[in-house]
């Protein structure tokens, strides 16, 4: 069992937890992820690592409640435990492999969308610790949905943009990137993490601008160790497994349309389970799957 030390709601349906997981905490690097199970009958949920404390043996996760399992996770409090936390999984970010001198020569921009803001944080923080500056663009629908702002401010040059203009710049992350570029920020490296549709359009733009771009893919996964192949995607015409070959890939080579299509696979079945969980004994149809 893995004890939850802290549990806080960051904004509507996005919450943060600090969990005791010494093996993960001692080995993880930015870019990697972990898998949890809420309880003994739970699904295996892949989640990004938002932060870690090697000495305390803890990891921080930031989660958006979207289905039956994540709502169940959200209901847990400090002092409760998770049945399983396994990781770190996937490869660390390529940035961790590069020499610090090389990194210092680069102008790096991170583009974070929605709950994808969380996995950007450890990368920006890691760069800061190595003495490397970076820009981060956080995109959110509206002001209330911007997360981790104060923590980002300490580790990077932060630009916030909201779709409705209620905070920071006005518009999508692609507009913010174009504007920053036009303002003279000639980036040589971009990392985009967020909804697939956002990553797809960021990649379209950065291809035009000629900025090499890394994306972090979050497809459906079961084991997370290369065993099931559910997370397979096409990169540069080749089949890759996000869990072991990624999760980070060259964004200009990822087949996003195929990846987005594959996300629909269990939509109806997950929706059914969610409805069943929400409505409990009062569930009498409406999910399209039962009579």
């Amino acid at each position: 069992m893995f004890k939850i030390l802290e549990a806080n709601e960051l904004t509507t349906n996005i919450f943060q937890m600090i969990v005791e997981a010494p093996r993960v905490a001692s080995a993880c690097l930015p870019g990697q992820f972990l898998i949890i199970r809420v309880d003994e009958e739970g699904e295996r949920i892949p989640l990004t690592i938002c932060d870690y404390d090697r000495e305390k043996g803890t990891v921080e996760i930031v989660v958006q409640a979207i289905g039956a399992e994540t709502y169940k996770l959200k209901s847990l409090k400090a002092g409760d435990s998770l049945a399983d936390v396994v990781g770190p999984l996937g490869k660390p970010s390529d940035l961790c492999e590069e020499s610090i001198d090389e990194l210092k020569k680069k102008k790096i921009v991170f583009i974070a969308g929605g709950v994808g803001t969380a996995p950007v944080y450890p990368q920006a923080k890691w760069l800061k610790e190595q003495g490397v500056d970076c820009d981060v663009i956080i995109g959110a629908k509206t002001k209330d949905l911007v997360i981790l702002e104060d923590r980002f401010k300490k580790v990077c040059n932060l630009h916030i943009t909201t779709d409705d203009g209620s905070y920071g710049r006005n518009g999508m992350v692609t507009k913010a990137l174009q504007d920053l570029w036009d303002e003279g920020n000639k980036y040589d490296h971009c990392v985009a993490i967020g909804p697939m549709i956002m990553m797809k359009f960021v990649c379209k733009l950065t291809e035009e601008l000629g900025i090499p771009t890394i994306v972090s893919m979050n497809p459906i996964m079961v084991d997370g160790t290369g065993m099931c192949g559910a997370c397979r995607l096409t990169v540069d015409g080749q089949v890759k497994f996000a869990c072991v070959d990624g999760p980070e890939f060259d964004g200009h080579k990822v087949d996003f349309d195929q990846a987005m299509n594959r996300m629909k696979l269990y939509k109806t079945e997950e929706g059914r389970l969610y409805l069943k969980a929400q409505e409990g004994d009062t569930h009498h149809g409406g999910c399209g799957n039962c009579n």
Partner: protein, 461 residues
């Protein structure tokens, strides 16, 4: 009944079992087992023992069954095998112990597998446990992977008195016994969990949720955590795909994914929180035991199931018993044909698969006649799901993070057969991680050899 025919084993009716996940084979009762045991001639030079990869003293345990002494029979088997209830169910006895039985020359071989199963099941019901070590050696050994080879190696080392910890990547112990082999062939709670409990009762510790190579490396286990030897039994978990057009369509799965969802995550059960696709018409590609497991699972989840295999019936790599059971249950075999393309509908879901007819040519290096395409013979099978069961290869997670550990070109760890010793001192390996995908019992045999190898290594260290 004369001595030439074995006592038949009771099975769940084919029509009935095709709709449930309860065990197909019901096993012998006391009367049937004792009657079958009497058929054993107790040969002075028992060939059956030579046919057993873990060398169970088969005539000796059968003698105890004849006397009605289940505990004696169980302890006899336990000396050699940590997982008798598993082996009694999934071993290919026909090509091992039973294949060597002299009774088989003129009639049926003694039903050794079913007798082993009877002993293990009855002992479990009676609460009989294997006997542990009398003295502790005070040396720590790490076992990576809790599948058949790891459990066997751990059990044997614990019996010798070593302090053994098994590291398992998944949330549950058992490896292929829990994620791969379905409930209807190998019940999880009633059989697998209990046998693992027995291994733990020998003093073996188990740490789940540890991915060696990611959470911690082998070097760290040896340098920082005090393990003096390591056994790698991490299996062959990476699925293969065909790399044909349309393979990324929705509704195309690896057998590993399909079976893991159903077996490990219990998706066959309505109440499971893990989804699984309930296909209407499902094509399984491949003809091995895993293909049979996937086919019979899809059938039980309500699909019409076609097994597409590029060779003929004789060449099917699956056990005869599995093919026979699959046919009884209504699985359709489309033999001598091979998929060339998968077609999806406008929403990206599988709608059909194009196959081409094959004929058998000259035998290849494996001795099997290699299939050759018949030009212009393409035809379509309509289906809404395709399950690829083309074999698996070892996961590079460990080999790629362990300096000095040699692998061959198929990513299999290079290890000596007699001792399991690898190119790295103190590190041993066995099972599918070394051989590529094979059987439960061969993995157990390798785990057993490695336990001996590790004992010798540590005694001379």
């Amino acid at each position: 009944m004369d001595g030439f025919v074995r006592v038949p084993v009771r099975e769940q009716d084919a029509k009935e079992r095709a709709t449930n996940f309860k065990e197909v084979c019901l096993g012998y009762n006391k009367e049937e087992a004792e009657k079958e045991a009497l058929r054993c001639l107790n040969c002075p030079n028992p060939k059956c023992v030579q046919g057993c990869p873990v060398s169970i003293n088969i005539p000796a345990f059968i003698e105890q069954v004849k006397k009605g002494n289940v505990e004696g029979a169980y302890q006899e088997i336990s000396k050699a095998s940590a997982l008798p209830a598993v082996c009694g169910r999934v071993c290919p006895q026909e090509s091992q112990c039973e294949g060597q039985c002299v009774r088989g020359i003129k009639g049926d071989a003694v039903s050794i597998g079913k007798l082993e199963r009877y002993v293990a099941d009855t002992a479990r019901e009676m609460g009989i446990k294997p006997e542990g070590a009398k003295e502790k050696k005070g040396k720590k050994v790490a076992v990576i992977g809790s599948g058949p080879s790891g459990l066997t190696c751990a059990g044997d080392l614990a019996k010798m008195g070593y302090d053994v910890t098994i590291f398992e990547a998944l949330h549950e112990a058992g490896g292929v016994l829990v994620y791969g082999i379905p409930e209807f062939r190998l019940p999880k709670d009633a059989v697998v969990k209990k046998e693992i409990e027995n291994v733990k009762s020998l003093g073996v510790k188990l740490e789940t949720d540890v991915v060696i190579g990611k959470s911690v490396t082998i070097d760290e286990l040896m340098e920082k955590e005090g393990f003096e030897a390591v056994f790698i039994g991490s299996g062959a978990g990476l699925p293969r795909f065909m790399n044909i057009p349309g393979e990324q369509s929705m509704g195309v799965f690896s057998a590993n994914e399909y079976l893991t969802r159903s077996n490990l995550m219990k998706a066959f059960d309505e109440n499971s929180r893990t989804p699984i696709m309930k296909a209407k018409k499902c094509v399984i590609v491949g003809g091995g035991n895993v293909a049979m497991d996937a086919a019979r699972t899809a059938l039980r989840l309500g699909a019409e199931v076609h097994v597409v295999y590029r060779r003929g019936e004789e060449e099917l790599p699956a056990r005869k018993e599995e093919v026979h059971h699959a046919k009884e249950e209504g699985i359709i075999f489309d033999l001598l044909c091979n998929p060339v393309e998968i077609h999806a509908d406008e929403n990206g879901w599988v709608k059909s698969i194009t196959c081409i007819r094959m004929e058998l040519g000259e035998p290849d290096e494996s001795g099997r006649r290699s299939p050759v395409e018949v030009p212009g013979s393409e035809f379509d099978i309509e289906c809404d799901a395709v399950i690829m069961s083309l074999g698996t290869s070892p996961n590079p997670l460990i080999s790629s993070t362990t300096a000095g550990l040699d692998v061959n070109r198929r990513q299999c760890i290079v290890a000596q057969e007699e001792t399991g010793a690898t190119s790295k001192p103190g590190v041993f390996a066995g099972g599918d991680a070394v051989t590529g995908a094979a059987t439960v019992i061969l993995a157990m045999g390798a785990g057993k050899a490695a336990a001996k190898g590790i004992d010798e290594y540590l005694q001379n260290k």
